[in-house]
Symmetry: C2
């Protein structure tokens, strides 16, 4: 609170392939002043999410959506405390959801902020299972996937904030839930979190283990990885299976023109169609934004209740210090995180 300068992380170069530290630049700038109708915020937690890769690169993901300009502060959702308010609805000390990104301080229009009740749940969860990742899981699973009791639901990146919520929601829906993750620590966590089966995609017998874990085939595959996991899942889809697609972790670093980065060269793209037809599959890309108007309120109240009842587990992977956001993001984007990736930008006042 005594800092006179604002440490922030800006885009130094557009990454090609896996981002490297030199793609980012840590710099200091004056703390901005809020104008009328604005609020000055101090970030507490910064959320690191895979979609940011699309915003800073020039790959196929994120096309058509605004890019972070070179030299611009990297975008990201945060939980922040109000430091100074020029709007009657907010006062110093309020905890809010903001979009001021990778910096210690920022100003935002009051109308774009969402107040958080710190007594209802740990405030960091509003960036995870109670926030955008949780709602993404809810929308994709419950509104597109629609699992029925006894059906088999498979989710990859299952210890991540979206995947772990998908699995736990599928359990609540009465489905047989199979989580896919990389490494024994993550597999162990999945079993503790109530997944019926957990499969390690790094195993050399991955396909065999997936088959063993899904003896009745797969009715819903929540797709957030792509690549070889999709290739293993696809032949096991049952008739009328649903495949909500919300992320492609295996493809975030694809480089246009490379083998992985040229999916728009559609020669052979029809390869999926015979199965889509003969098994009446539904494959649907989506973003949570599509469902916000009609379903976000119902999600927030249900999820908060499930959390309060102890029916939802979650893991956070927290790095301290805004200057470490680039390394934490690289860790996320290369799949080395374990749980929801957060940067603790300043002390959490609710934990004091």
């Amino acid at each position: 609170m005594t800092a006179m300068l604002n440490t922030r992380v800006v885009l130094n170069a557009r990454p090609r392939g896996v981002p490297v530290p030199e793609d980012f630049r840590v710099e200091q700038a004056p703390i901005p002043e809020p104008a009328e109708g604005e609020v000055l915020l101090r970030n507490i937690y910064l959320s690191l999410d895979p979609y940011i890769r699309g915003r800073i690169g020039d790959g196929v993901l994120g096309r058509g959506r605004p890019k972070v300009p070179l030299g611009g502060v990297i975008e990201g959702g945060t939980v922040a405390a109000v430091v100074d308010s020029c709007h009657p609805d907010f006062q110093r000390g309020d905890i809010v959801l903001s979009a001021i990104g990778w910096q210690q301080y920022g100003v935002q229009q009051a109308g774009l902020l969402h107040r958080i009740d710190p007594d209802s749940a740990p405030i960091s969860t509003f960036l995870g299972i109670l926030g955008m990742p949780g709602f993404t899981a809810y929308a994709g699973l419950n509104l597109i996937g629609r699992p029925q009791p006894g059906e088999t639901v498979v989710v990859a990146a299952a210890t991540g904030p979206v995947g772990s919520m998908v699995g736990q929601l599928a359990r609540i829906a009465g489905a047989h839930v199979v989580g896919i993750a990389g490494g024994s620590a993550k597999v162990d966590w999945l079993k503790q979190a109530g997944f019926d089966e957990a499969v390690d995609h790094r195993s050399e017998h991955f396909e065999v283990e997936l088959a063993r874990a899904t003896p009745r085939g797969i009715d819903v595959y929540f797709e957030n990885v792509g690549g070889v996991v999709f290739d293993a899942v696809f032949p096991r889809l049952n008739p009328h299976a649903r495949v909500p697609v919300c992320g492609l972790a295996a493809h975030y670093n694809d480089v246009p023109g490379d083998e992985n980065g040229a999916p728009l060269q559609s020669a052979g793209a029809a390869v999926l169609l015979p199965d889509i037809l003969s098994k009446f599959l539904q494959i649907r890309g989506f973003a949570y934004t599509e469902f916000v108007d009609c379903h976000e309120d119902e999600f927030r109240s249900r999820a908060a209740q499930w959390l309060a009842e102890g029916r939802l587990s979650y893991v956070e992977d927290v790095e301290a210090g805004i200057e470490n956001a680039p390394s934490a993001f690289i860790k996320l984007i290369t799949g080395r995180n374990f749980g929801k990736s957060l940067v603790a930008v300043s002390p959490d006042p609710t934990q004091e």
Copy 2:
């Protein structure tokens, strides 16, 4: 009506690749006698449809659905006249929809028959635009594709019974409609039938012409072909485009193990996913059966009215004589038909 024997076409060998005449055998058998609750039928029109390829082969299409046994009568929908009835609901001369297949006469349980009103429309149309192909078009376009006024709808095999109905329904819905077909005669017909644009997929400039015909991209692609047409369409899909998949004419003759016939070798199947995600596409395989309970009645009444109002055009490709069903089917399955493929098995009593 004086024939004492029943000429029928049975499966002689399972086709590999494109069916050949030797895969079929024309034979004669006694005319069957109806038992209690059954009806003896004389076929008037036999419907030839691509799905039959899946029922007689061992390719990937039609998997999980019953196969015609070797020596069995080839399956198919027909319009037939009642010759003899052992059920009070039907009497001699009634015109019905049946499933007695590729033969002159057959018996069927009365409960499986649907009576046709010959005064409401030409009876052959109950196998085409007012029948299963028409309802397939209606279900896929209106219930999955859901075109909005001003959106662009593309349909391939556009002079076929499904494709022509899709295009005309899309026009009724206020969409900009682009039909794809092979050859100038078909392209000319599409323009006469009210399609806004018609593109010849045999043109060496097919992709350029498709781009010119879809300057605002493609919002609904009704997929009934696959192959290179899909490959050309896919990159032009707009955000939130819908792709109902009801047929894959380009793949009916794929041979398992061949290059085209091994789509379940899913290596690279993830190639579509980045676009599915970044453009929020919906791709959904379907069969009309899924929608029969809730929507068939509404379809029949609307389509009959549109037909009576002169808002629906159709083309029929009629071959006379049940013994010519194999050659007519091979013509269909190799894309050389023009319009709904029918075999005139016996004189149409409503045309006398």
